[in-house]
Symmetry: C2
Subunit: 452 residues, 2 copies
């Protein structure tokens, strides 16, 4: 006779047990408890509000969505509006025409229908056009897989490439915990390479090479290299020369290049510029046969910050037809990504242009968001990691005495012997001075208590 | 030196290679090719339109969405509308108040923010209230995980329960291919039990028991039982007595009961009634400690048919706190499901009620859709499977000579020696006569050609 209930932690999938996701881990669960405590017993803690800096979620912290994007979404959700006279005074003319254009590419104008497993063809055409205009090299709608944010695309590639614990994925340390979580869930090996904090989190090919050879000597079949550019959590923007070397390295070593490019609009210094890895590879003369390359993009980042809409895409080039069929099959098992996110992915890659009615307001909204983020990027620099104590302990103490929620660096990985926290810069600007004051007081007290 | 590119079908994850998903498999890919051919060379085929009956996608075939649902979604997407005078004449009063109510439960009214990993608390409260009123037994928002349609919930549970190829999941045959695909992707064993076509696709406990013992004798650790009720692709509605026996069986055998209840609104006969397995279990006096039970629901089915919105939920009861933490962690790795789908999931579980301004039009829309589906359920009965030839061959020939796309029964599983196709009933009613005519002519010719 079997036991009354046979499900216990001990007999769950060990890959699930092994997986960690610090961005929503112990600290965040504790913060949710403290938030409830503040609601039920106001005044019971030395602060009156929990500030979630653990995850990049700007709209939860007051950032407003771009009006044009939301106008188009509302019209696509309820197309009857397009036949009403009042709509002309409620919506901008280019939002109305964009919605009509999008609906015309959807069979039956049906925004409630499952789409092609890769996403609606017309929206993929728009995304490909946006990539082409960004890079100056052609992009193809057949290479685009629209996804519910970037995460499902990353999972799909890990699922495809990882057969067992002897398959390795080269990941930057610090990394974004999605990669370690996904590799653990699929039972592979994370092969770390270290970004060098002293050189602005630079990526050394010699270190890459060393880590690759080290892994191979242990019998690991290294299948892919993850590069996050611009970096998360480090914020670095790779120099063009560095990107050339990375592309050459992947080609020579037979690695898939998984390019996490979701921060392509988040560059806050004038002397840095985003270059997609596909643009770099094509400008080196590398074509489809030279390099399997996946570029991930998301509507959650940039100035758009539409996290809750779960939109994004991956652009896949350099894979053989039979391999692409397998990617298509995996995408098919979940049928399709949500249509609202699909539409938004097409919009962020094709925002209003000069001459469109919405252009001026769109530009003003976008610039205000990016300029404000840039000011906060500098402000937060001063409040970085303590080096004298383990990061999780530091983060827990920080939360308990200030209500500020950050992520310990161990969730991202870090050079052994160093400790970091990850703190987003997304509370609205007027709240930043108070955050810094509390943070500073905590930090000084912490340092006084634990200094050698 | 590694090869120039090391990615080939031969070295992909064998679980991915093994996975099949007939609903979007070879027949559908061929149909997409024929559809392109019809666009570029009209008149080149013996039909002028491809009819996708392979998947339940009603809005792609002309079914209109429920107006109230779409009004609420549009207002939530673009909340500025709520401050405009014109909105009162464009939207129903109860849609406006529902949107305000929903926005009030979202921190910062931010429909573009990541939510709690299980979904927005206020929406989970609404879903729990809907379940409570449906079942007459209490439901708890903490037990609800809002998901991008039902599929991700099913994958999450398979990922949690399946450790290796010795972990088995009891699945009905015929089944919906999501289950075989998900079990294959997670590397487990599908343990079949057969629904009996002669008794209206009934489920025999004696067969369940036999299959379970058979699997155990082969060293399979059977972890869960999947029941699809109402059935897909069979359409049966389980009798209450049958459900009691299933619940008892799961409790006695220590199985998780995975109840696919996405067709709860798709019942076309007066003498049948949907009972959720949770209602059945609770009415037997079984509580949290007796039975781990997961109920899946989706916005894609019923009269709503909002497939593209990717909304749904799973209600999880009877798991220990440490196991629930693991489920929460897996949900967290993808951050949250899309907010539009979350809102819709709360709406389908709480549609307009008597007295609401929208009630009359909502009721009329809902009844018209369900009555039309009921008429088509009978019409399509006459066009079922051929028994003389393999189903995939039949489906391919059907497509090539008529443009009608169906799914071979082998993708769903079937009693050995029998052959089926799966055909949805979702083309709009006025198109059905033409479909039947083409289908009939094909079928007669096919039978004449291949009859013994």
């Amino acid at each position: 006779m079997a036991p009354a209930s046979s499900v216990a932690v001990e007999n769950l999938n060990p890959k699930v047990l092994k997986c960690e996701y610090a961005v929503r881990g112990e600290i965040v669960i504790h913060a949710q408890r403290l938030q409830q405590q503040l609601q039920t017993q106001p005044g019971s803690l030395p602060f009156d509000q929990i500030l979630f800096c653990n995850i990049g979620n700007p709209q939860s912290l007051g950032q407003q969505p771009v009006t044009f994007f939301r106008e188009v979404l509302a019209l696509c959700d309820h197309p009857c509006l397009l036949e009403k006279e009042e709509t002309k005074s409620l919506f901008s003319a280019d939002a109305i025409s964009r919605a009509k254009q999008i609906l015309a590419t959807i069979p039956g104008r049906a925004t409630g229908a499952y789409s092609h497993s890769q996403g609606i063809k017309g929206l993929r055409d728009a995304i490909a056009a946006g990539i082409t205009s960004r890079d100056g090299f052609p992009a193809n709608a057949d290479d685009i897989f629209i996804t519910d944010g970037a995460s499902p695309g990353v999972h799909m590639m890990m699922q495809l490439l990882i057969r067992n614990e002897k398959d390795g994925i080269l990941c930057p340390i610090p990394q974004y915990p999605l990669y370690s979580a996904s590799i653990a869930l699929h039972g592979g090996a994370l092969v770390p390479y270290y970004l060098d904090e002293k050189t602005g989190w630079g990526l050394e090919i010699s270190d890459l090479k060393k880590q690759l050879e080290d892994a191979r000597s242990k019998g690991i079949d290294v299948r892919a290299l993850v590069v996050i550019n611009p970096g998360n959590p480090t914020g670095q923007v790779l120099a063009e020369d560095n990107q050339y070397d990375i592309v050459k390295f992947c080609k020579n070593e037979g690695l898939v290049l998984l390019a996490d490019e979701v921060y392509q609009e988040n560059i806050y210094v004038d002397n840095k510029k985003f270059n997609s890895f596909k643009k770099i590879a094509r400008s080196m003369g590398y074509g489809e046969d030279d390099l399997p390359l996946v570029s991930f993009q998301s509507v959650s980042k940039g100035y758009y910050g539409e996290c809750g809409k779960r939109g994004g895409y991956m652009e896949i080039t350099g894979f053989s037809a039979p391999v692409r069929e397998q990617i298509y099959k995996v995408a098919s098992v979940n049928l399709c990504s949500n249509i609202t996110g699909q539409i938004l992915a097409s919009l962020v890659m094709n925002p209003p242009k000069v001459g469109d009615e919405s252009y001026a307001s769109y530009k003003a909204e976008k610039d205000a968001i990016l300029q404000s983020l840039a000011r906060r990027a500098k402000a937060i620099e001063a409040a970085k990691a303590a080096e004298k104590a383990p990061d999780a302990f530091y983060a827990l103490r920080l939360l308990e005495s200030t209500g500020i929620v950050v992520v310990p660096g161990s969730g991202f990985g870090q050079v052994p012997g160093t400790w970091h926290i990850r703190c987003t810069i997304l509370p609205q600007e007027d709240k930043i001075p108070a955050v810094i004051t509390r943070f500073k007081a905590f930090h000084e007290a912490f340092m006084a208590e634990y200094r050698d």
